[in-house]
Symmetry: C2
Subunit: 346 residues, 2 copies
């Protein structure tokens, strides 16, 4: 069975671990989100790709869910001693090696997909992982930073609402800024509303070699409970990928990242609001739409959502969706595959 999985970071990685447990012999291709990539200290950092690679390769810090196990942060402390930041992004001593190797290979002319393959040579994640694109895509978020935020800079009154408030006079007017997704997510912990979420560069990006081929050859396509906007949504924003999935003619089944009207982990509600989608299991299903999605799993606490989702033309079931451990996650994966078979035989 050939399975294609669109994956973000922690949620996607953990789901994949369950999927491998559920169907150890399946041929799994992961299309990884690169919209959260960031250049730090002159190095190319791909947080989602690394989270999947480390998680499936046994190198992840289980507690944090990102970065390397048994990690230390001495290099970062030294960078801070030089006054070089950002300090809010956690790059560990062991993790740095991945970014150094990646950056060196990219500088030598290898595309990110080839670099990812080379890195996976070490980690043997047991899946084929392809970045969604070899082109540069970076998700940016429009926010209004509160006055006094270090990134807001000296208040000039030129932010949102500047028309109404003379420069320097109004307190709390804030400064409108477009910031990197990581700054929004990691530094600000999504503490201010995301006014817009833009995968910069996506429109000009091409799917990486192998992406469309894997989709065309898939027996099943799965959307793990990853962030629908900044993970799955970014992958779908690369021209050709959404179309290829819709036209693949195989079951496309997703798992809701929203349980009981709140994200299971992360802060998906913040970025869902930016695209006008309610933070509910049904709203996310309808956001993907029946043109893309054939089946949708919601958590048992959201069983009341099932009818509405099925009315929207998406086959739906309510099952436990908490990835508390690998076995529970494997059960979720089996449910997703069972729903796919149900959809296929309709």
């Amino acid at each position: 069975m050939r399975i294609v999985v669109l994956a973000g970071g922690i949620g996607g990685a953990r789901f994949l671990r369950g999927l491998k447990r559920a169907v150890p012999d399946a041929d799994i291709t992961v299309i990884g989100n690169t919209g959260d990539d960031i250049h730090l200290f002159g190095l190319k950092v791909c947080p989602d790709l690394d989270t999947v690679m480390y998680t499936l390769g046994g190198g992840i810090d289980e507690e944090r869910g990102w970065g390397r196990t048994d990690e230390s942060f001495r290099l970062k402390e030294e960078l801070a001693a030089y006054g070089v930041g950002p300090e809010w992004f956690g790059l560990g001593d062991r993790d740095f090696a991945t970014h150094i190797v990646r950056t060196q290979m990219l500088a030598a002319g290898y595309p990110l997909s080839a670099v990812t393959e080379a890195l996976c040579d070490r980690w043997q994640p047991g899946v084929r992982m392809i970045p969604m694109t070899d082109d540069r895509v970076e998700t940016h978020v429009a926010v209004t930073l509160p006055d006094g935020d270090p990134a807001a800079g000296p208040s000039t009154g030129s932010g949102a609402g500047a028309g109404e408030t003379p420069p320097g006079s109004a307190a709390g007017s804030g400064v409108r800024k477009v910031i990197h997704f990581q700054e929004y997510w990691v530094r600000l912990r999504a503490s201010v509303p995301a006014e817009a979420v833009v995968p910069v560069g996506a429109e000009q990006a091409k799917p990486a070699p192998g992406v469309l081929e894997a989709i065309a050859a898939a027996d099943v396509i799965l959307f793990p409970p990853s962030n629908p906007v900044v993970s799955i949504g970014t992958i779908l924003a690369v021209p050709g990928i959404r179309e290829a999935i819709a036209e693949a003619g195989v079951p496309v089944v997703g798992l809701s990242p929203i349980v009981g009207d709140a994200p299971v982990r992360g802060m998906a509600d913040k970025v869902l609001a930016a695209v006008g989608v309610e933070s509910t299991a049904w709203a996310v299903a309808e956001h993907y739409g029946s043109g893309l999605l054939d089946g949708w799993l919601v958590d048992t606490v959201d069983a009341t959502n099932v009818e509405r989702i099925e009315e929207a033309g998406i086959r739906c079931r309510a099952v436990p969706l908490m990835m508390t451990d690998v076995d529970a996650t494997a059960r979720m994966a089996r449910e997703a595959l069972a729903l796919a078979e149900e959809v296929r035989t309709v």
Copy 2:
């Protein structure tokens, strides 16, 4: 008193520490060797500059003489796990930060001299340190690698002596190669003769901003007991620097790195042989020459050298030259400055 010091790595750094102890109020400018710079893992590494900076800034590993105190090597182990080397060059987790900051600043367009100044902002070495040049100079060494050396590659018989020996037939013919100085020094520990030492790029290099000005403004110019070929020699190979020193009209005094016909530390004899200079205190003095050098300190064990050196037109004294601790080194520095005054009043 304005003192200009031409410095290599460990020897130069330790001498400078003694010099600062001897004349705490002196205005010291260090012209640093960059011929041993190397690109590793996509990062620009300047071992000599860093050794001086860390030593004078209190960050050096005292026992090794290079790298950071309280160092760990986790990042390097991870690079090795990716199969990315070289493994023979010791870059520690804390040390990496210096190379990352440097590389990032260079990529942003700053010249090495500005980068060095920025790094020294943190370390406050108490001297002004200028790299000899902002241009790329890398010392290379011609060697005959023994068969079986990992860098020799599969034996093709195309090395030195290939004409006489049919391919693959003769044992021990070796493979002639030009390798980076660091590979010769660190990986091979100078275990094979240096057939030639070439500061690649030196001929086209220009002295960094401030170098010639510091020399012209100096009251005294000192050559610490650094390597006469790959440290001081490389600095002098940058067009304009040797001439500026010779024409400065101030005492130029050196300290012999050779004591009792052997280098005090390092393997200076190996590279002296490559330039046809005997490994003796007098031969090194004559190698610099009376056109450049006004005074020369030899160790007391080399007192018999004094007459010969003075006959060559270089004022010479025999004093203890072992840098066993900072106080002993400070005494050496005072002797060098005393000799400079003696020369000046001639």
